[in-house]
């Protein structure tokens, strides 16, 4: 199948490449199917989640552990069930980046990361109980030069 994307033009993919947010993303619940697209130079730390249903809708997500070594997101029982989780090693964590044209103004949402089960290809946005920021400036990441 071919899908239109926000940043990459037309992209060829297979249905098995898609990930499914059974409950959507908070505030955008109607969109369920996303295609993860690697940035060539992203080295796995940067990923685009492109909506299959709406070409104009795409998230840039980051590996939170590359930004914050001490970040410890945890999956609750309900989310774990939603993801058909069989073990923590199947879960990849990402944080959604809001880009505002400069490093100082751009932020990541540490309070509500995205968990993806790489085996079942189910995903959900998790709300952590911990006191993390919804708009944490990415310039503050300790591993960033």
């Amino acid at each position: 199948m071919k899908i239109d994307t926000k940043y990459f033009g037309k992209v060829e993919c297979r249905p098995s490449d898609l990930i499914c947010f059974e409950a959507g993303v908070i505030g955008l619940e109607q969109y369920r199917q996303y295609l993860p697209i690697d940035f060539e130079e992203g080295q796995g730390n940067l990923l685009c989640l492109q909506s299959v249903e709406d070409p104009g809708l795409a998230f840039v997500v980051m590996n939170p552990f590359a930004l914050y070594e001490d970040y410890r997101p945890r999956l609750g029982a309900a989310d774990s069930k939603l993801l058909e989780n069989t073990g923590e090693d199947a879960i990849s964590w990402y944080v959604i980046c809001t880009m505002k044209g400069s490093l100082e103004e751009s932020s990541v949402n540490l309070k509500a990361p995205v968990a993806v089960n790489v085996r079942s290809r189910k995903a959900c946005q998790v709300i952590l109980e911990d006191d993390y920021s919804i708009r944490c400036p990415i310039g503050k990441g300790r591993n960033v030069c």
């Binding site: 940043y7 908070i26 130079e41 940067l46 998230f59 959604i96 505002k100 490093l103």
Partner: protein
């Protein structure tokens, strides 16, 4: 502001289509069951900011934003 008292199992209605029922009362929290049409957004207050951040993140980014992000974080 309207303030109502409800017991466990009791409900209140907002308009014709929304029903909110108290299903459990704990020491410092209550559990509510909400029946509402699909088009009505029901959101915990603290999630509003996440919903806004998500909408900005999904719609606003540009290719030039991406370029510097990849440059800074893609190494």
């Amino acid at each position: 502001m309207l303030i109502l008292q409800r017991k466990k199992g009791q409900a209140l209605k907002i308009g014709d289509s929304i029903t909110i029922r108290v299903t459990e009362i704990g020491a410092d929290s209550v559990r509510l069951a909400i029946e509402a049409p699909r088009e009505i957004s029901v959101l915990r207050e603290e999630l509003e900011e996440t919903a806004r951040a998500n909408q900005e993140a999904a719609r606003e980014g540009s290719a030039s934003d991406l370029a510097w992000l990849v440059k800074n974080f893609g190494k």
